[in-house]
Symmetry: C2
Subunit: 197 residues, 2 copies
Amino acid sequence: MGRNLSFDEKKVLSAITDTFRQKGYEATSIKDIEKATGLTSGSLYNSFGGKEALFDAALSHYNDYVVRHRISIYLDKTEDPLQGLKDLFHSLLKEPDGLSNGCLLTNTAVEFNNRLRHITQDLDTGFSLLEAGFKRQIEKCSTTGQIPKHSSPQQASIRLLILYQGILVFVRAGLRINEIELTLDQEIETIIRGDIS
Amino acid sequence: MGRNLSFDEKKVLSAITDTFRQKGYEATSIKDIEKATGLTSGSLYNSFGGKEALFDAALSHYNDYVVRHRISIYLDKTEDPLQGLKDLFHSLLKEPDGLSNGCLLTNTAVEFNNRLRHITQDLDTGFSLLEAGFKRQIEKCSTTGQIPKHSSPQQASIRLLILYQGILVFVRAGLRINEIELTLDQEIETIIRGDIS
DNA sequence: ATTGTTTTAAAATGAATATTACAAAATGAT
DNA sequence: ATCATTTTGTAATATTCATTTTAAAACAAT
């Protein structure tokens, strides 16, 4: 009972997430979020709580939709597992419209500096999603025979995770994009091809 | 002629830099900088200009002193070039007092999102310092015979740069520190040992 | 239709912000 | 010693910010 919500929560969360992703937490004002969502502060505060709660919701939404979706498309659903892995990394370098929004996990990790436990927890969740996706993909590559069996898919997956986040720093800065493009495949392959010693 | 400056500019710039490095640009207030430096806003505005100018000065100071100093100590002046390179990377994981200030280049790249040309320019300068240091070190390792001659020290140096920035994202988040510690040497060695094909 | 409940928009609030204005203090030159 | 100049601390300013308040609007149940 009572008045119905006037908005689609997933659409609104997506707009909020994009705003935080582009501008960061501190640089985003409630007014920015009002503009991005078309809602007024009354609705935002009533539905989500304050600015910090809005950010929490955005970060969770990012994990549940953006990160999972990318893993699903590029990794789990791909025909050629090695190529899918490479495509995922190369896609980081090709943001549409000359934007450099990067990754909300990267941006949040750097901005929040391990100050809020629940934020760090959400970051851990997101990083773990990527890490597990990488590990599955490495094992898939071994199974298909594209690469020799890796001595430690676990170690390789964290090395891919570091590479992933490192690239996103330069994406965000708008620097070294071409140079990274040129060396990316080689870096992926040397990580992936961890021969059994 | 006129009244003398009451402070040591290098000391003050160092305090300003530490503050921005720890909290980021937006989250740092002029009052924070007053506390960190012991100066009042009158002096700060008279000597440096506004907040943006303070940040510019801090970023330049970071390049000229912190980055150069680290390269000098860990790379250029080291007896064992391979060990120096490894030590440099491991030092990222061992910030004193449980702090996670990370690197001002990383933090700024992520926060500023390529919006201010002169900031991006300073970032490019800092990244280039690291990149060139890495390249010299790789060549030194070849000369001493610690590693075989690399097919492309240039490519290897940018891969080290990505690794460096990627690690700093996790340092800042306070996540995966032990896991990175375990795999770091291996990652460095595989980048360094780019055999001539 | 009335009641109770929730959502919404707009205005109000109060704190924090970057910056400026200004007068006193400190210095060197004359 | 006076003057001109620069620095410094304090106070003032004006804006922006997150949040709260408030009343009207929209719904479901009775």
